[in-house]
């Protein structure tokens, strides 16, 4: 049982008339894993999530969540899966606490138990002071926090978060990411996070999939994705010296493709064949160049993302 993936999809497809929203998606998420579904708006992320929850019927393919079929056992799945929808909303006339209480009732929770849990959750998402104000007075960011508390009311085994960091301030984002990490490590909650904001989400995800136009174009850990790329390595350096120093030190190193100014001011970018990246770094050190900073430019997820995204669009065009 524990070896079975918590969420799995095989050949999942959703068509609306002629448009294909999700195209033959294969997905497996293990217990306690934090999985990022990354892609631009309109890639089909929300449609995928709705199919996992049994809220929309797949045109083709199979889905299993916690070993169950959403089409046949929707209630059992929805009892154990917490869901934060994209741009979540609440009943404006009810207070934050009353909104959560309704969710607890819909989950047939014991009222006393629910009350204690709601107290704990509003505190945890930083809404303890606002919990008894009508939700209509909340800011977008507060609604988002309340949404997280709402998804956690039922004490879920699986958490599906659709754009959890949208509309919240940077401090809120880092709190949100801490919460996600804590839930995964301390309570073993399996999480699926959809986002178009790559940098925010990459640090908490065990694995990510890049999702463009209804298809996964790449998946794996962020490291695997960076290495898995076919292109050359790009080293971004800041050195005490100029381009000439670099050229001199790297003379004779095989596979050097280009030495050019980096994207950040004052930095340089050395484009080198993947297998010779180590040689280049050693040559720099041996050549007496003082390296102030060195990193692999291609490890940034948004770089990878941009690359895959461009590949897909150029193939499509």
């Amino acid at each position: 049982m524990s070896d079975e993936p918590v969420i799995s999809a095989r050949g999942l497809t959703k068509r609306y008339g002629d448009t294909v929203a999700v195209d033959g998606l294969d997905l497996e998420i293990g217990r306690g894993e934090v999985f990022g579904l990354l892609g631009p708006n309109g890639a089909g992320k929300t449609t995928t999530i709705l199919m996992l929850l049994g809220l929309t019927e797949p045109t083709e393919g199979t889905v299993r969540v916690l070993g169950l079929d959403p089409a046949r056992n929707p209630l059992a799945i929805k009892r154990r899966v917490g869901y934060l929808p994209d741009a979540v909303g609440f009943y404006e006339g009810l207070t934050g606490r009353e909104n959560l209480r309704y969710t607890a009732r819909l989950n047939r929770m014991d009222p006393d138990e629910a009350e204690a849990r709601i107290d704990m959750l509003v505190d945890r998402v930083g809404l303890a002071d606002a919990a008894d104000r009508p939700a209509g007075t909340y800011s977008r960011g507060m609604l988002q926090r309340l949404g997280i508390a709402d998804a956690l009311v039922k004490d879920p085994d699986v958490l599906i978060l659709d754009e959890p960091t949208a509309a919240i301030d940077p401090e809120g984002v880092s709190e949100m990411l801490d919460l996600i990490r804590t839930l995964a490590t301390e309570q073993g909650v399996t999480q699926l996070i959809s986002s178009h904001h790559l940098q925010q989400v990459q640090e908490v995800c065990d694995r990510v999939a890049i999702f463009v136009s209804g298809r996964i174009v790449a998946s794996g850990t962020t490291h695997e994705l960076a290495v898995g790329g076919a292109g050359p390595e790009r080293l971004e350096l800041r050195i005490d010296g100029g381009r000439d120093d670099l050229v001199r030190a790297l003379e004779g190193v095989p596979g050097i493709d280009d030495i050019r100014p980096g994207r950040r001011p004052g930095s340089w970018e050395v484009v080198v064949a993947r297998e010779h990246a180590g040689d280049a770094v050693r040559a720099l050190a041996a050549g007496g160049v003082e390296i102030l900073e060195l990193r692999r430019a291609s490890e940034e997820l948004d770089e990878i993302y941009r690359r895959y995204f461009q590949e897909v669009t150029t193939h499509a065009g």
């Binding site: 929850l53 056992n73 009892r79 741009a87 979540v88 909303g89 047939r108 949404g147």
Partner: protein, 316 residues
Amino acid sequence: MPDERMPPGWPIVARKEFTDHLYSGRFVALLAVLSLAGAGAVFAASTGIRSVAPQTVGIPALFLRLFTVSADPVPFALVVFIAFLGPLLGIMFGFDAISGERNQRTLPRLVAQPIHRDDVINGKFVGGLGIVTVVFVALTLFVAGIGIFRLGVVPTPAELARLSVWVLAAIVYVGFWLALAMLFSVVVRRSSTSALIGVSIWLGLALFGNLAARLVARLLAPSGPGAALAEARLETLLARISPMTLFSEASSALLDPTVRTTGVVTLAQLDRAIISNLSLVQSLAVVWPQVVTLVAYTVICFGLAYWAFMRQEVRA
């Protein structure tokens, strides 16, 4: 873990809807308007009844006259007033049932909870009917109280039974408008548009329904002997398409034991008829078609709303 083990979800939704309505401004406003108008109508009616009381000893079901008689200065009887304003009650509690969830973006969150999708619309309909029941029972008791105070007549068990059946019919009548308003709230995205469509249909039927029936009857009626009778029958038939006519006719027979038919009656048919009171069951038999049609209207409307809602995508 099979789904069946969980208790049904619609009572939870219904309870929330009922509570929301109960604390809403529109509930207070409607109750105030209905109570004021009801009190006015009954006060006038009771005054009218008192003034003619000496000559009319032995009126059958005197107490129920409170509901059916109009007198100066209020130009309408309570039942007429309910037939007219009842639709507003249904529209007020139904026009934003689903569109409100969409506007507040609560629908995806709601259907992601362990309930079936139809629990949402069923619960909302039941919650709405619940609040309508509260309004009618409160109004009827209020009016009856004024009546007892003013007339000094206590209703008989038979009258109470008639009154109860009438309240049930009124709930079904308002239930039709509730279902209709909910249908628009499913189909139309904006709550304001949904409310406007509901109100237009209500006012259109109330103000022009009978007029339209008369015009169409005149156009279609055959000429020759018996034309007037045929035209009158056709007009009655056409008017009965409107739920307002159906409810008015049902009310008249349910609240007045002397009413023996709701159709067109010729003088010849009245010749040597013996005036006597009908029992409740007999009165019910007279307007059974009207009652059944009202129930059917409600069921059809709710069925359409249900069907449309189940076919919609969760995402707006």
